[in-house]
Structure formats: structure tokens, C-alpha cells
Subunit: 316 residues, 2 copies
């Protein structure tokens, strides 16, 4: 794979393994795979054709987001590509270019592609493993949210879901307005807020994860890991939904559902102790609640369980 | 993924990323994928059915071998599984068990599975990324071989190729003798010599790689990276081939071809300065030669280029 080495990559491609600096004596590591027809289609209903560049960018973004969600900074990636024999060379080069461009444009300056592996298969599959550094700090886990904490979001919510709905719609991609097109672009090339993760760790975030499956599902994960209630503020949710109106009105779909159920924006959901100044990029969207007797961990909207239709008043 | 954590895994599965110790301030990293019908068949010509355990073991072994080839010790793995929806649960559990068993039985005591990712696809695909430590030492590269060095091999050569030939033959797996079966088992569950890599580094190996594509191809990689000639001793090659006779005679095939062209045993090819004591597990199989004028880097057998039929006298 191409790309100049970052300072963290001590030994790049060409040997059986790469060597990456870990100056504080520990390494954060994650892995993620995208598969054709599961995570992307080469051609969508609306006529959009996914490029190799898109897939490379998204692979970079998804993996960088996992490192970001720990409060860490990515230092290196290794990539394994599985390709059908008839894959055009230009498409494969696009993957490499998209990886490099995603790393650069998302601001992961310390990161580079240190090595890779190439093989054949019946379908396109791209797996990236990424390592990163906590700069001597401690990882921010899902399990640290405490009652009374502020719940905050960095990055967008529902953009990628709106973009997916546009891709799967019959509305020709060429007819989208720039305001609609931005959602499609975000689905194909997510923009996780990479400065926000380390900033949240330094600011004293008590819990954090990246929103890859939607506020409800990922909020529930944090609630379960921390054994608390996660209460979303309907006013903030409504503001997040309002931004999606250009796509929702075109398709006659529910923007609230995208905000609550849509992942792949790779925003960060984090909690901070009460009274703390939120770091740049974060907006308060709710709070952490103690569990009552006989109450299990979960997500609420204005105090009503979101699992049992409690957000209907917001969604409609 | 299951498995108790090793001491090196500071944070295991459950968050967006794992955290692994890197006490000497650097991490060795590699990635490798196995795909159904490319790297294994669920059912072979000879009737053998590949188990999830086999695939998990092989994924562990291949990746551990890449770390071994740098002279490093594996500390952690992350795993991404892509599975068709109809994959039996027992098969998937077998993958997890095979990974854990491979790590343990191959002696990678410092390593555990720290996290993973699970997705759908049309074909089974297993990607593992592995990190490791050099214990404060320097990685052994492919490029360090010097004229006059001893060329040495640790581990078997040609076993996996003989095993593949047995799997692809019409000879029913149930009819194999124990002496023949050992090759098939090695193809399905490779046994890279994991103590040998760090031992070679400590003993002063000048160059090293793992033999994943055969002595000729991997020897050529070392020759090119080091800009030298790699000269194999025909007497040693004959001894390696003789061990494969139980399979070669059954199939009427050429054991010498397996020794020279067969990979997947994941032995180590390393070079040591002249007069050095070879570490345990290594056997001298040749030497490193200076290039003459107008001579390019490559592999020779008894001084004759192996690329141009120079080993015919050995093969026949």
C-alpha cells in the first residue's frame, strides 16, 4: 500500500510485519471489515457507483473512529484486501488512495499505512486493523458513566442514515441538491471528529464510545456497561433531526428515526462530570440517571424508556 | 471472542478497541486473511472436511509466524470474521476454539485474543491482526543477509504442500497411514517454530523471513532485499525431500518440488554470520554468496541458478 510513513511507523511495508512506536508503553488496537453488498453496493438504486476511493476512505474512517472512541490517537494501520480476479486495477488503486486521503483529511497526521495483505475472493472485502496511542493517559471506557454526568455528542447524527436512504431511493443521484448530497457523501465518506476523542479524555470524560449503530443502540451499550440510565433531551434530538429535513422531505421519511437509529456517522457519545466544561466539538444532549429499584439500564427520552415507545412524542 | 487474557492484554473485548502492553515502546504488527475456496475448502477431494477449529488454528499460526519472523513475540490478536448467514454456530465456535488452542499449543503464552468484529458475507473469511514485542531488541529484516553468512532453516519444509496434495488427491483421507496423515494435519494446522524467531534475533541473525511461499520464492525475496545470492545445499534439500517420501510415493509426485515450492509450513529462513553457533531449532541448509559482475540477486542450488533449471539434477 502506498503512502509516506508517519513518524510513528518505525518500519513500514516490505517485511513480514511492521514496527510502530508506542512511546508510553501501550498500544490501542481495533479491527473492522467492510464487505461488498453488506456494507456497500458497487451500484446503488439511485445510480451512485461506490468507488474504491469511497471504500478506502470509509475503512480508514471506521477504524480511526474506534481509536478515537478510546480517547486515543491512531499511529498506524495494516490493511487486508480480498478482491475478485476481475476487479479493475484502478478500483484497487482507489482503495489505497482513499485510505491515505481519509487518514490525511480527517486529521490523523500521526497515522500511516504500515503494511498489508492481498488475496482473492468471490466478493470484495476490506479489513483494516489500526493501532494508536493514549499519550500516557488512560483509555476512556464505556463503563464509566455516573449518575449526574452530562451526556454529550461530538459530530453529526443521522447524516449517514439519511445518505443511505438516498442511495437506496429511486431518486437519481444527479438530481440531488447540494443540501441533500451532503448526507450521501457522509455515508460514503464518514467524517468522525478525530480531535474530539483525545480532547474528551483530557477533559475528564467518564465514559465514551463511537456511535456506529445509532444513539439508541450505542446509548444502550453505554447504559448497560455503566449500569445507569441514559436520558436524551427531546429538544436536542429535535434540533439534530431538523438538520436532516432536506433529505426527510424529499423521501417522505422520518428524520427522528435517522437521528436515533442511524449509525455510521461515527460521532462520539461521551459523559462528563456535572459542571465540567465540555471540550470543543461536544454538545450536551442529555444526562446520566441513577437506576430506580427494579429498573434496568437503558436509554430514555425525557425520562420515558425509549425501548417501549417512549420517544413517540418526539418521532411524530 | 473467548479466551483468558494474557498479561500483555491490558483491556480485552467489550470496548471500541483493546489496549495491549508495549513495555519497550514499540509494537510489531501484521495482518492476514483466509478466504473459503482460496485458502481452504470446506470439503476436499479426498473427503476431508475443514473444521472451524482448523481455520481458527491456521489463522493464529499464520499470524504468529509473521511476528516470529521479525524475531518478536506475539502479545495480542484481534479477529474479524465474515460469515454466510447459514454458517452453523458450532463451526463459528470452532474458529474461536481453534484460535485459542493454536495460540496455546504453539507456545505463544504471552498472546490472547483481545477483540473482534463479526459480519456477514457470501463466503467465509477470517482476518487476524496480531501485535507483538521485540523485548527491547531490533527487528530482524529480510535485507540484512551478507556474503559469507550461513543460511539456516527452522521448522519443516514441504509438509504443508504434501498435505495439500493429499487433500486434493482422490485417495480417501481414511486410508492414509499415520506417516502420510502428518502432512495433511500440518497443512490444516501449521506449526510454526515460535521459539526460533526470538532465539535467532538474540543469537545475532542478520536476516530472516517466514517461508510462506516456498524456499525458492521466499529465498528470492531475501536475496533481492539483501542484494546477494542465496545458495542452497543439494544434500540438505535431498534430506528434506526424503522425509516427504510417504506422501510422494503414494501420489507419484515430486518431493523435491514440495521442498522448494511449498509454503504454509511457516518455517523460518534466517542467515547468521560465519562461525556463529546456530540457535536451537535451526539447521544450516546453505550459504549467502556475493554477486558477481552482471549477476542479479537470486536463489542458487550448488552455485547454479534455481530460476533457470539449475536444480534439475536435484529434482530428478
Amino acid at each position: 500500500m502506498a503512502g509516506a510513513h508517519s513518524a510513528a511507523t518505525l518500519l513500514g511495508p516490505g517485511d513480514d510485519a511492521a514496527v510502530v512506536a508506542a512511546p508510553d508503553g501501550k498500544t490501542v488496537i481495533s479491527i473492522d471489515t467492510q464487505v461488498e453488498d453488506q456494507d456497500f453496493r458497487l451500484r446503488w438504486s439511485n445510480g451512485y457507483r461506490t468507488t474504491g476511493f469511497d471504500v478506502g476512505w470509509k475503512a480508514a474512517a471506521q477504524n480511526l473512529s474506534d481509536i478515537n472512541a478510546m480517547g486515543a490517537t491512531a499511529t498506524s494501520m495494516v490493511v487486508s484486501l480480498t478482491l475478485p480476479p476481475d476487479t479493475p486495477v484502478s478500483w484497487v488503486e482507489g482503495v489505497a488512495d482513499g485510505l491515505t486521503a481519509g487518514i490525511k483529511e480527517l486529521g490523523a497526521d500521526s497515522c500511516s499505512v504500515a503494511g498489508g495483505d492481498l488475496g482473492r475472493g468471490r466478493e470484495i472485502s476490506v479489513t483494516v486493523a489500526v493501532v494508536g496511542t493514549l499519550h500516557g493517559g488512560e483509555a476512556v471506557l464505556r463503563s464509566g458513566a455516573r449518575p449526574g454526568d452530562i451526556l454529550a455528542l461530538a459530530g453529526t447524527a443521522g447524516y449517514a442514515a439519511a445518505g443511505l436512504a438516498l442511495l437506496e431511493s429511486p431518486v437519481n443521484v444527479e438530481l440531488l441538491t447540494p443540501e441533500q448530497r451532503v448526507f450521501l457523501d457522509l455515508q460514503c465518506r464518514p467524517r468522525p471528529p478525530l480531535a474530539a476523542g483525545p480532547a474528551a479524555r483530557e477533559a475528564g470524560a467518564t465514559a465514551m464510545l463511537d456511535v456506529s449503530d445509532g444513539l439508541l443502540r450505542d446509548g444502550r451499550r453505554m447504559a448497560v456497561a455503566s449500569n445507569v440510565g441514559i436520558d436524551l433531551d427531546p429538544g436536542h434530538l429535535a434540533r439534530l433531526a431538523a438538520v436532516l429535513r432536506p433529505a426527510a422531505e424529499l423521501l417522505g421519511m422520518d428524520a427522528a428515526g435517522w437521528v436515533l437509529g442511524g449509525g455510521e456517522d461515527h460521532g462520539l457519545l461521551a459523559t462528563f462530570p456535572p459542571g465540567f466544561q465540555l471540550p470543543a466539538g461536544f454538545t450536551a444532549i442529555g444526562s446520566v440517571q441513577a437506576l430506580g429499584i427494579d429498573e434496568g439500564p437503558g436509554v430514555m427520552i425525557a425520562g420515558r424508556s425509549a425501548d417501549t415507545g417512549g420517544w413517540d412524542h418526539f418521532a411524530h
